[in-house]
Subunit: 243 residues, 2 copies
Amino acid sequence: MANPTAAMLVIGDEILSGRTRDANMHHLAGELTKHGIDLREVRIVSDDREAIVAAVSALRDSADHVFTSGGIGPTHDDITADCVAAAFDDHIDVRDDARALLQAHYDRQGTELNAARLRMARIPDSATLIENPVSVAPGFTIGNVHVMAGVPNVFQAMVASVLPTLTGGAPLLSQSLRIDRGEGDIAGPLGELAAAFPDLSIGSYPFQRNGAYGANIVIRGSDGARVSAAMAQLCDLFPGSQA
Amino acid sequence: MANPTAAMLVIGDEILSGRTRDANMHHLAGELTKHGIDLREVRIVSDDREAIVAAVSALRDSADHVFTSGGIGPTHDDITADCVAAAFDDHIDVRDDARALLQAHYDRQGTELNAARLRMARIPDSATLIENPVSVAPGFTIGNVHVMAGVPNVFQAMVASVLPTLTGGAPLLSQSLRIDRGEGDIAGPLGELAAAFPDLSIGSYPFQRNGAYGANIVIRGSDGARVSAAMAQLCDLFPGSQA
């Protein structure tokens, strides 16, 4: 049976301007692979209402699960929650359960729950909250869309809250081999190997190091015996390469 | 006048599986910002024909320029050129001009131009070649889509070949201020500032360091005097913060 599929939507002007590098995509990709969920697509869009609504609408139709990152804080540019509600045509306002979490948290800190912080309690009516053990302000799940914070340690904590609730498939296993020859030399035999193992994904990722060409060949599949069989044949084709 | 817009399409199973981190997006984002072209969206899809064709078709309609990264090497999983040709309904085969470049290169090296290497000369009929000063095998431009290699140093060289041929807009200028207070304290005054400067983009990027909350506020715009004016007001609102 095919594994469940996922898509990710990163909301972030700061990534599109080149100011920062995204870290959440790489984290989520690794966690999903371990959990047996196939990440099929990632989109990065700017803090723009129309762009966010369109992306959420497209991705929730194309993947079993959608994970979003960013735009759920207290500032004026945090518009993700409202956009996701719009994509689901759901009503959104400050919700009592989320407000209670924030109120208790800020009471403990002796900090005022002001209007800005209260924005973080805006949750669509039909959503369920995602626990945030780092800084309390919750994410939420609506339909098949999981809305999470952009700050990496909060994002990671929310992923850890959500993933155990999702049914995964067979974890994707992989083995790789570094071959210190140009892809042009590797390609012929590799293509024949890929044709002989149509149930596996065999990828070639070229590199150049100190002026010499090489490629990392990665064999992926959910059946460990098949992955090992293909790797054994690959090692026979290119003896002396490094696993 | 509004700046030209761009979108990027990264083709790469290895990024979606969490095996590698993308580096090309960050490079392109920075170069486009300097050139006055607004990167509006990035999509990452797997080495899947249907997914690539659909993404190219969507992005070329939504942005002035589309840049793709990956999938133009000699191995069986390099299908980008054929997919882009399909998205443009153009014929593709080994083209004489690209073959001549490769033939001369491999002759100099004393390497055979075998069937696998010859795949890198597959270029759509209506495309123009993008120079590759690193490893010769060219990229190409068809319509508003620029098809480039995934290996970072080759990608960067191709970006350097293409960008000077594109008309840019006013470079996006930015100034930033680190404020060592939680976003909940910053959000109110910041929202008012953003409302007073509707021609600028004012973003708040929260962080947590050694248990303390803070945010980097980034003010962006193409009019340097306006950016400076907004930054001066921001510094007045939060004295003692670090530019």
